[in-house]
């Protein structure tokens, strides 16, 4: 089990670094796909089948295909792109640090209600239990997430419409 973890971690980190360092944007995207697959492997090692499969469907199957689609159409093959100015670089670093802080705080502070189900003897990896947790204990955040997605979807539609009117 531990060797499997090390192999998966090596693949995850290696492909993540290759994503950043490869010159060709298409190669970057393909390395990112491999990275997502290895993360799904990590989920499977937690026995979280639902999370692993949904991760593959959403990230590798939809988002990365759209990403590849855009990159292929834009033809970003020229190397030596101009680097962004210093301010935006600093802003990027700061916002990344803030995100990392939030994520760390979440992982350290978060309660884990699955333990209640585990003590009850329920199989807390099954979809039924997952659905109960999502729609009972986390009803409000779950609905907020769906509203957030709806807002971003409407925003995307509006943006594309606006361009159309200007032309």
């Amino acid at each position: 089990m531990l060797t499997l973890f090390y192999i998966l971690s090596a693949i995850t980190l290696g492909t993540a670094f290759l994503t950043i360092f490869s010159k060709n944007p298409i190669h970057s995207a393909i390395y990112l796909v491999l990275c997502f697959f290895s993360i799904a492997g990590h989920y499977l090692m937690f026995n979280a089948q639902f999370l692993a499969i949904v991760h593959i469907i959403v990230y590798s199957g939809a988002i990365m295909i759209l990403m590849l689609f855009t990159i292929m159409l834009m033809n970003l093959n020229k190397e030596g792109e101009k680097s962004k100015n210093a301010w935006s670089q600093i802003a990027a670093v700061i916002s990344f640090c803030l995100l990392a802080l939030v994520l760390l705080a979440t992982f350290i502070k978060a309660q884990q209600p699955e333990y209640n189900y585990a003590t009850k003897g329920a199989d807390f990896q099954s979809i039924k239990v997952l659905g109960q947790v999502l729609l009972n204990d986390y009803m409000v955040p779950f609905e907020f997430a769906s509203v957030l997605l709806l807002v971003s979807m409407i925003g995307a539609v509006l943006l594309s419409k606006k361009e159309h009117i200007n032309n």
């Binding site: 393909i30 499969i53 199957g61 939809a62 295909i65 759209l66 689609f69 292929m72 979809i127």
Partner: protein, 343 residues
């Protein structure tokens, strides 16, 4: 006991693999024969009796052809493309049930490679990943027609995947499970899902045509506009892999259609047969019944291919986004209301 399970599962996996290959092989012959029949021709009839050896001859021809690699900066990705297509076409069969169970050597053998809790989602995962084969191959060919074809394939697959997923949600609501085995078991007798979900079935059928890149949705290999589509630059067995993967995917999606909506291996009187003739005979008949259903759907695919002309690209997108998705959402809502009323 552990070894017995490993042997049992290996035998099932190898049998399913061989079967998929065999069906894909003979689907190529069936396609040509059916095309000939619909167009009032004879079809291939030279290799073997009635052309029965034609797939072998085709395979041999593809193996013997010159291996041509275009001048591309991505030789590795050029090789990877067909491999992804083929492996993704074969991976789905791992979660499909081919029969209920056999009673051999004093133990029940479940005729399924693996039954995971999220089998249906696994099928969708594999489907959504399978487009990488076409995309990567088309891009690495370094040919603008191949690239255009890859783009078309990707946008088409993403569009129809949404409608497909939504159409299956109504089915999941009804059956209350994501395990394909339980869905198959729930259709015992004549309780086939197609009678309860006719609209869902229709949407799923149309979307599986689009997912398998078959006419009228084969915009990715539209000869009149794009030469050969994404496999323009491919030759020899790499090209053979792409063609073969299409037929393997067709077999698998016919199986999914038969299992999800057309009662899987269930047939009228299965319980009676099980009681009077024993589990084994009833289930062997069940396997044959499943294969008859699969063969019907494969024939249906071919029938449509030689009957309906190809859509225009904007028609394809309009059908996907403006007709099928709203229809499947309405189907979900109506299913929910009816379920509430019946309760």
């Amino acid at each position: 006991m552990e070894e017995a399970i490993i042997i049992e599962k290996s035998v099932i996996i190898i049998a399913v693999f061989a079967l998929t290959m065999l069906m894909a092989m003979y689907s190529t012959l069936a396609e040509r024969k059916i095309a000939a029949w619909l167009q009032d021709r004879v079809g291939p009839n030279r290799a073997g009796k009635g052309g029965i050896l034609q797939p072998l001859a085709d395979g041999l021809k593809l193996f013997a052809k010159e291996e041509f690699v275009p001048n591309t900066p991505n030789k590795f990705l050029f090789f990877v493309g067909p491999a992804i297509s083929m492996s993704m076409a074969l991976m789905t069969s791992a979660v499909l049930p081919w029969g209920d169970k056999l009673h051999l050597f004093g133990r029940d053998i479940i005729l399924q490679a693996t039954d995971i809790d999220v089998a249906l989602l696994y099928v969708f995962g594999v489907l959504s990943v399978s487009v990488y084969g076409i995309m990567i191959g088309g891009w690495a060919s370094n040919n603008k027609f191949s690239l255009m074809s890859a783009m078309r394939a990707a946008s088409q697959m993403i569009s129809y995947e949404v409608a497909m997923g939504l159409s299956i949600i109504a089915l999941i609501m009804m059956t209350g499970t994501l395990s394909i085995r339980e869905i198959a078991l729930g259709q015992n007798g004549m309780n086939w899902n197609v009678f309860y979900q006719p609209v869902g079935f229709l949407i799923f059928l149309i979307c599986s045509f689009a997912e398998a890149n078959r006419t009228p949705f084969d915009l990715a290999e539209c000869e009149a506009e794009l030469i050969g589509g994404y496999h323009t630059e491919y030759s020899s067995m790499k090209m053979g892999f792409y063609l073969f993967a299409e037929y393997a995917a067709m077999f698998i999606s016919s199986t999914i259609l038969a299992v999800l909506y057309f009662g899987a291996y269930n047939y009228p009187g299965m319980d009676w047969a099980e009681k009077n003739w024993g589990v084994n005979i009833a289930n062997v008949i069940g396997i044959f019944v499943l294969f008859i259903k699969i063969c019907f759907f494969i024939f249906f695919y071919m029938w449509v291919r030689w009957t309906i002309p190809r859509f225009r690209y904007d028609q394809l997108m309009r059908l996907g986004w403006k007709a099928l998705i709203p229809l499947s959402i309405a189907n979900i809502i109506i299913t929910g209301i009816v379920m509430l009323l019946v309760d």
